[in-house]
Structure formats: C-alpha cells, structure tokens
C-alpha cells in the first residue's frame, strides 16, 4: 500500500535530517528547508521514510495512508 509524505511547514525548523535519511523523496532548498521531490512513498521506500519521520526533531514530517480526503477537504476554504 502506498503512503503519502507530508511536511508541516509551521512545525519544520529546517534541521534537514529528512534529506539525509530520505534523499529519494526529500531535498533541501537554499535556506535548508525540505522540499518533497515526491510525496508518494511506495513499499520500497517505506522503511526509509519511517526512519526519517521518526528522526524529525520537531515531528514535522508525517506519513499518512493515501486517501483523497485531505486534498478535497483542503479546497473548502475562502
């Protein structure tokens, strides 16, 4: 089953461990903050992704099951 990677941009303070542990999905911008190359985490990357999530000092990196709900709910605004 595929999982989705998510960064909480407020919680993130740019430690950058995620880019070290999961370079397949995360790179850092010029200010040291993570950017997702992809947010879809397939079974092959799941173990590394979990390690990166657990290593995040501010708990800003999260994995969720793939559903359509977050993106459609996010449109109900303004």
């Amino acid at each position: 089953m595929s999982r989705r990677l998510h960064i909480d941009p407020i919680a993130c303070t740019g430690h950058g461990l995620c880019a070290d542990l999961l370079p397949e999905a995360v790179e850092l911008d010029e200010w040291g903050y993570p950017m997702l190359r992809t947010d879809a985490i397939g079974p092959g990357l799941l173990r590394h992704a979990r390690r990166a999530v657990n290593a995040c000092p501010t708990l800003a990196l999260r994995l969720s099951k793939t559903t359509d709900q977050p993106s459609s709910a996010a449109q109900v605004r303004g």
């Binding site: 407020i10 911008d29 200010w31 709910a73 303004g78």
Partner: protein
C-alpha cells in the same frame, strides 16, 4: 467616502433590486442600492429597500434546509478571493456533526480593496441578514463578525447595527463583533479560527479544516461579508433572480475596488463577466495606461490592452493566468515603473509573513530584496535567473497561501514588464523612466501594524 459608485440607476423600493440589468453599460445595483446616501442604511431604510428578513418556513427559499440548496442553485461563489462555491460550503457545515458557528470575515486585509469596508459602512444590515440566514441554514447558535482592529469607526457602527436589530427583534442568532489584529495574513480563515479560540491571528497548518472543526472545535462556516450579503438577497428573491445578472458559470454581481490612474476611483458593483474594459471606461482610466493589476497583492499584472477584453470572472481570468481575487483592479499610470511598484509591494508582503514557515519567512525577503535591487538598477547580472528559480521553489511551501500569492505577483511583473526588467538588469532606463518616472507610490502600502501584536 470610499465609493464613487455613480451609476445612479438604482430602482427605488423592492422587490427585487437590479434584476435583469445585464446591459454592459449599466452596472446593476443590488448590494449598492441606495449608496448615493452618505450614511449607513438604518434598519428601516434597509427594510424599505429590500423587504423584511425572510424567516425560516415563511419563504419558498427558506423551508427548512433549503437555503443551502437555493444558494447552490444560484451558483454563488465566495467573494473573498477564493471563489469557492458557497452552497457546497453551507452543505458541508450543515452536515458536519454538532452545533455550528458562523464567522463573517470583514478583515479585508488587502490594502487595495475597500469593498468590504464600503459594504459594511453603507449596508451593514444586508451583511447581518445574510449571516443570520446562513446561521439558520447550518444550525449555528452564534455569529462572529471579524473586523480589523484599526477600523474603530466601522466596529462601532456595526455594533450599533447589531444593537438596533436586537432591540427590534430582527434575526434569530446572537451576534458578536470582534476587532482582530489587522495583519495581512490575519484574514486567512485558519488565522481567524485560531484567534477566536483565544490564540494568535496567525494561520495554522492543521489538516482539520474549519468546516469540520473550527471555533470551539465546532463546524464553522467562514464567509466573506460580501458573500453573506448575496446570501441575504438569494434568501429573499431566489436563485433564478440571482442568475439574471452575470454569466451562466459565474452568476450574480460582484463588488470591485478600482484605483490608480482613474478619474473615478472607488467601489463598483458589476455583473460578473463584465469586461474589464467596461470597468476601465466607467472609472475613466487613463487611456495611455500600459498595465493593470487584477486581484490585489496576491494578484496578477496584465497588459492593459489585453485585459480590457477579458470578462471579470474566475473562469475567464483563470484562462489568462489571473483571478478576480477580492475584486481589485489597479490601473498603473504610464509614467510609473511597474517593477518599482511591485518591489514596494513585495517588501510589504515579506514583512507581513507570519514568520512561521521557513520558506516564507526567508524566501519572501530574498525575493523582495532582489526586486528592490532590480527596481533601482543595482542588481547583479544573475538577478532574473535567481528570481525565476526562487519562484519555482516557494510556491505551495507555506501553511497558508501567502508565499504563493507573493510569487504570483512577482512572476507576473517579470512577464508583463519583461522589457523594463531587461533594461533594469542591464542598468538602462526603462520605458516609464524615459517618460520621467516619478519614483513610485501608486500601490498603497500600509504601515505595518504593531509587529508583535497578534492577540
């Protein structure tokens, strides 16, 4: 006063106002009925204009549960900038569990927009009617009106209108008026919810949306005050009437604030889909203006000539890479440099970051500094390349849309003023400078509100 709405063809009395006035030369007066009068409509004047507030069960639109259906059938979309279908939002809050809350968003943090201020100043009861109808539709037991703390006179006036209604027994849901810190991002809906819950007026990155869990963890309907005013009229006159103005895919009227190089700046009501050129004609825009900014400081620069033919609607502007936003149109005078103007606004937006998300807190000042360098002709040779790269990096990286909006503005400036940008980057005078550019100052940039004050 803020409105120069002198289309002067208001139909006296009711019902219904402005119906069917879709002639392109005529702006239908629905929300703006009677705005020739300088003072706020009293409750009696309001009822004279529009008729009494319909009560649930007493009107075809207001049989229990049908207001949301009527609003959906009317095709009303949010007038605060996001253009989300209002009926969908009403249904979502109504079907969420537990008693709901209604928030009327009158923050109008966009410095170039004055329409919410004008609407609340002239027709407070229209907004309060809409909030009351919406509250009944979603079974809310309280309405919060959120206004900027700097607008002290407006806050007093809305409080008086609320008291008048209470005395006269109009409305069924209690109303609380709040003065909220007026930072640019404080009008964002998650920021309002956080503030109403006792926190700071800064956006939140929670994945719980306010319609599910908002104020007091209850389902919360947050609508712009103009959106609520349209709901008040749909509740009275129905969706078919609402659709007599506007386009099939974007019905109704909208308020727009027109400023810059125009003889008649102010707030206009227009049928959605009115060509921007008609708005330029009504406001007597300078014929030699080269560019317009549409949608506000999160908006998009367009060449004046190509913009004139575009209908003012989310769909049509969307095809041109723009959006009506909160209905802002600024006409850039021929002698003003669009890059200098954009640089000033970017400096303001960078300072208005809530400072919570790294890419916004660090990236916007970087872009603003490069733009300031470009505007003053002191930038290094790599400036344009660096800006384009950072535009790509910053979009979608914040908890709210603040970085996205600033990037949209900056990117559109480099497109529309491409020749000027090349001239500036090459340390040559741009076209406006050759006309004797007066050094900027067209786009209003407010002084920041007390920086630390978010509560």
């Amino acid at each position: 006063m803020t409105d120069q709405h002198d289309q002067g063809d208001a139909v006296p009395g009711h019902p219904p106002p402005g119906g069917g006035r879709t002639h392109p030369e005529v702006s239908p007066a629905r929300l703006t009925l009677g705005w020739q009068q300088a003072t706020a409509a009293t409750l009696d004047e309001h009822v004279d204009r529009y008729g009494p507030l319909p009560r649930a069960g007493h009107s075809r639109q207001l049989r229990p549960g049908t207001l949301a259906d009527a609003v959906a059938a009317a095709g009303l979309t949010g007038r605060g900038g996001a253009s989300f279908p209002t009926g969908t939002k009403l249904h979502a809050v109504a079907s969420a569990r537990g008693p709901a809350v209604v928030v009327a968003n009158g923050m109008e943090s966009e410095p170039a927009s004055q329409k919410d201020l004008a609407l609340l100043t002239h027709a407070p009861h229209l907004v309060l009617d809409g909030a009351d109808l919406a509250a009944s539709a979603v079974q809310a037991d309280v309405v919060h009106i959120c206004l900027p703390r700097t607008a002290t006179r407006l806050v007093d006036q809305v409080c008086r209108a609320v008291q008048d209604r209470r005395r006269s027994g109009v409305g069924s849901t209690p109303v609380e008026v709040h003065d909220v810190p007026p930072h640019y991002v404080s009008g964002e809906e998650t920021a309002l919810v956080r503030w109403l819950n006792g926190g700071e007026a800064r956006p939140v990155s929670s994945r719980q949306r306010p319609f599910e869990r908002g104020v007091g963890r209850r389902p919360t309907l947050i609508d712009n005050v103009e959106t609520l005013a349209h709901i008040a009229l749909i509740g009275r006159f129905g969706p078919a009437w609402f659709r007599q103005a506007g386009l099939a895919d974007a019905p109704g009227t909208m308020l727009a604030t027109v400023s810059g190089a125009v003889r008649h700046p102010g707030v206009y009501e227009l049928a959605v889909g009115t060509p921007i050129g008609a708005l330029l004609t009504w406001s007597r825009a300078a014929p030699d203006a080269a560019a317009v900014l549409i949608g506000g400081y999160f908006g998009t620069w367009l060449g004046a000539r190509s913009a004139a033919g575009i209908p003012m609607s989310p769909q049509w502007l969307g095809r041109a890479g723009a959006s009506p936003g909160a209905g802002v149109l600024i006409v850039l005078p021929a002698e003003a440099c669009g890059l200098s103007e954009t640089a000033r606004v970017l400096g303001y937006l960078a300072g208005q970051s809530a400072g919570q998300c790294g890419p916004c807190a660090l990236g916007l000042p970087a872009i603003a500094a490069d733009f300031a360098g470009l505007a003053s002709g002191r930038a290094d040779a790599a400036v344009l390349e660096r800006l384009e790269r950072r535009f790509g990096v910053l979009t979608g990286r914040g908890a709210c849309r603040h970085p996205d909006g600033a990037v949209r503005l900056a990117a559109s400036a480099l497109t529309v003023f491409a020749a000027d940008a090349r001239a500036h980057a090459g340390h040559l005078p741009c076209a406006p400078a050759q006309l004797g550019a007066a050094g900027g100052g067209v786009l209003p940039v407010p002084r920041p509100w007390a920086e630390g004050e978010w509560e």
